[in-house]
């Protein structure tokens, strides 16, 4: 069955997946230990689940295990986190000084909450990704020490990026038909994007979240375009629940997916008749049922908030309308003279945080692309958004456009609420470009729509150029990373 499945993979997609795998392996190995965003926390979470069978931060104790702590010290990790002038350890003797010292491989003394309040910042994430990584952690322990486990877990994460690319391919197939060239262009924009390969090759639940979001997009669009089949709808519900159980951010998927399901019920020809019958006989029961469902959903969101710091922030804080309006203006447009200078807003965040973060802001935000490159790619992206957006609007059913827009809008609104609330509370901004990466599938839809507008004879070369430019961006990204980490 496995071989049969492999044979059914279209050759361009198969070759693209090979490219993505090789690039991701290169990123996984080239990136120094603990230099994936929040990687120290995510590894610590897996270790806590594997060794103590509980989420981190439940009991008093050390934040990290002795083994992780010593590896971090050996690699200079603490002096690198979000510090643009730091460098990893370059001395082999120093990097490996703890090897062979008795007692340094202690792995079950981490995952605690320290007396000074230090606690694993990933502790509020749901456990799905971390539990999936436990067998990999155990395998790594057989092969070697802490660094073997870390690098093996990175390699395992790459599978989630491959799933994202495959789902983007399928999504685009639903949108523009099985056009191999357009599907390749769109899926390449997902899998060859340097930030995707970088994040898809570090220990983080985000990459699994991207895969599940793209899967949800594909299944929902398929249902909206082809009609609602029971097995597809079941898969859609399972994928949505899986995304929510992977990272709290995915609660943003719930309203649009509920909308799709409601649309499906409404479209069902037998539904009208049934509804009429129910209205006649059980109108009050129906009203009570809807009311109870709404209460359960609200309670579930409230209860689930404990698994998401982001959701907690959104639910807890209050909003001052004028302040919020000023924040939103300054996020997208230059600050006007009469507006307060918000400490959390640097430059124009829609470009300086979001766009730059999508094009390349690696590791713990220390490695950026050259500024001129952001500007050039910014203009190209605006053209892509305009042409692709117009094509989507004109060529896709309204229900599909509304669904894609709703997914993007709910995520963006949630991010703004969190950024605003955290800014008010702590004076420190929350926003990063990579938080938009769950929308990789929608980006692929824009590429596909724009490509569908090209004259047929241009499509092969345009696709080649897109793939070539993405690979060139990979080369630039590796050289920037090498310059920061190793020179």
């Amino acid at each position: 069955m496995g071989l049969d499945l492999l044979r059914r993979v279209p050759r361009p997609l198969g070759l693209l997946l090979v490219c993505v795998t090789l690039l991701s392996v290169a990123w996984a190995i080239f990136t120094p230990p603990w230099q994936g965003p929040d990687e120290t926390m995510h590894y610590g979470y897996v270790e806590s689940v594997a060794q103590r069978h509980q989420r981190p931060g439940v009991e008093r104790g050390s934040l990290f295990s002795t083994a992780q702590e010593l590896s971090m010290r050996g690699s200079n990790a603490d002096k690198l986190i979000s510090i643009s002038d730091g460098r990893p350890q370059w001395s082999e003797t120093a990097a490996n000084w703890f090897d062979g010292i008795p007692g340094t491989e202690v792995t079950d003394d981490g995952g605690g909450a320290e007396a000074d309040g230090s606690v694993n910042l990933a502790r509020n994430n749901p456990p799905t990704f971390y539990m999936l990584q436990v067998p990999v952690y155990a395998t790594g322990a057989v092969l070697g020490g802490v660094n073997s486990r870390l690098y093996l877990m990175r390699l395992a994460t790459i599978l989630t990026l491959l799933a994202t690319v495959a789902c983007a391919w399928l999504l685009v197939g639903e949108l523009v038909g099985r056009s191999r060239g357009i599907q390749l262009a769109a899926a390449s924009s997902v899998g060859l994007l340097p930030m995707a390969t970088h994040l898809g090759s570090t220990v983080s639940p985000d990459s699994l979240m991207y895969a599940l979001w793209t899967l949800v997009l594909w299944l929902a669009v398929r249902s909206l375009k082809r009609g609602f089949e029971r097995r597809v709808v079941s898969a859609l519900v399972v994928a949505t629940v899986g995304a929510v159980l992977t990272k709290g951010t995915s609660v943003a998927l719930v309203p649009p997916v509920l909308g799709v399901l409601a649309f499906g019920v409404w479209q069902n020809p037998t539904f009208g008749e049934r509804l009429g019958r129910i209205r006649e006989s059980r109108g009050r029961v129906l009203a009570a049922l809807f009311g109870a469902t709404a209460v359960v959903v609200l309670m579930a969101v409230g209860g689930f908030a404990r698994y998401s710091s982001q959701l907690q922030a959104q639910l807890e804080g209050s909003i001052v309308p004028q302040q919020m309006a000023s924040y939103l203006w300054q996020f997208y447009l230059p600050r006007l003279p009469f507006m307060a200078d918000l400490p959390t807003v640097q430059g124009i965040p829609v470009y300086d945080v979001w766009f730059k973060g999508l094009i390349g802001n690696f590791a713990w935000l220390q490695i950026q692309q050259p500024n001129w490159l952001y500007a050039v790619l910014g203009l190209a992206s605006i053209a892509l958004l305009v042409i692709g957006g117009r094509a989507l609007w004109q060529e896709q059913p309204r229900s599909v456009v509304i669904f894609l827009a709703a997914v993007a809008a709910v995520l963006v609104v949630g991010l703004h609420l969190t950024d605003y609330q955290q800014g008010v509370k702590t004076g420190v901004g929350f926003m990063q470009g990579r938080y938009l990466l769950p929308l990789l599938g929608i980006g692929a839809a824009f590429v596909a729509a724009a490509w569908s507008r090209l004259p047929d004879r241009w499509v092969p070369v345009a696709t080649g150029l897109l793939v070539g430019c993405l690979l060139a961006l990979q080369v630039v990204s590796f050289s920037r990373a090498a310059g920061f980490w190793y020179v």
Partner: protein, 222 residues
């Protein structure tokens, strides 16, 4: 068609690679070891006393030290004697002349080159009449590797060890070695070279095949 696809994929990659080489050739680096790149706290060192950063493990020889220091408010900074030691034995010396103003990382040339190794200590002795203001950070300091006036502190001083500037291009071999540190068993510099070949040659070659096959075997409406 086939050649145009090859050119469209390989062209941008080749341009990016050549541009990276040119930029690396013009990019001179002198860094051997960096203790802490961050200037978060002021570390006052009184007249006649020293601040020392210990547990320094440079992988190469060096003949310079660059450290975060400031003049005392509006007044110029005092002279600083810099000594490099191992096991209490002085290996090299240097001096920062008085009169500097403002906060900056200031370079000091040592009187001789110091070989690579572990367990080095760099000390800054205040030879002036005013307090010396060094810079450092608690971030990244999980061990008390700094002493100030003999007292151990949980700090890391903002400092670099340096050698003659070299172009980044001349350091590709060094990059391969550094990129193989703290990796699992079989990983060595050879793998960095192999990965470079993968990124620059093998992946673009497979990508060309992917684009060709997308337009070779995709019947309309398939």
């Amino acid at each position: 068609m086939s050649r145009r696809i090859l050119a469209s994929v390989a062209g941008p990659v080749a341009v990016a690679f050549v541009a990276a080489l040119i930029l690396a050739a013009g990019n001179e680096r002198d860094l051997v070891w960096r203790g802490n790149g961050f200037a978060a706290v002021v570390v006052p060192v009184k007249t006649g006393t020293s601040a020392c950063q210990q547990a320094i493990n440079p992988a190469e020889s060096f003949d310079g030290v660059r450290f975060g220091v400031a003049g005392n408010l509006a007044l110029p900074g005092p002279p600083v004697d810099v000594t490099v030691r191992r096991d209490g034995r002085t290996l090299a010396r240097g001096r920062l002349a008085p009169g500097y103003e403002g906060q900056a990382k200031r370079p000091v040339m040592l009187d001789r080159s110091v070989a690579s190794g572990t367990g080095l200590e760099v000390c800054y002795r205040n030879r002036g009449e005013r307090t010396l203001l060094l810079y450092g950070s608690g971030t990244g300091a999980r061990k008390k590797d700094v002493t100030i006036g003999g007292e151990r502190k949980l700090l890391a001083l903002q400092m670099d060890l340096t050698h003659e500037p070299r172009s980044a291009l001349s350091m590709v071999g060094t990059v391969a070695e550094r990129a193989s540190l703290q990796r699992p068993g079989p990983v060595g510099p050879w793998l960095t070279w192999l990965l470079a070949a993968v990124v620059l040659v093998i992946v673009p070659a497979i990508a060309v095949q992917a684009v060709r096959s997308a337009f070779a075997d995709a019947p309309a409406g398939d």
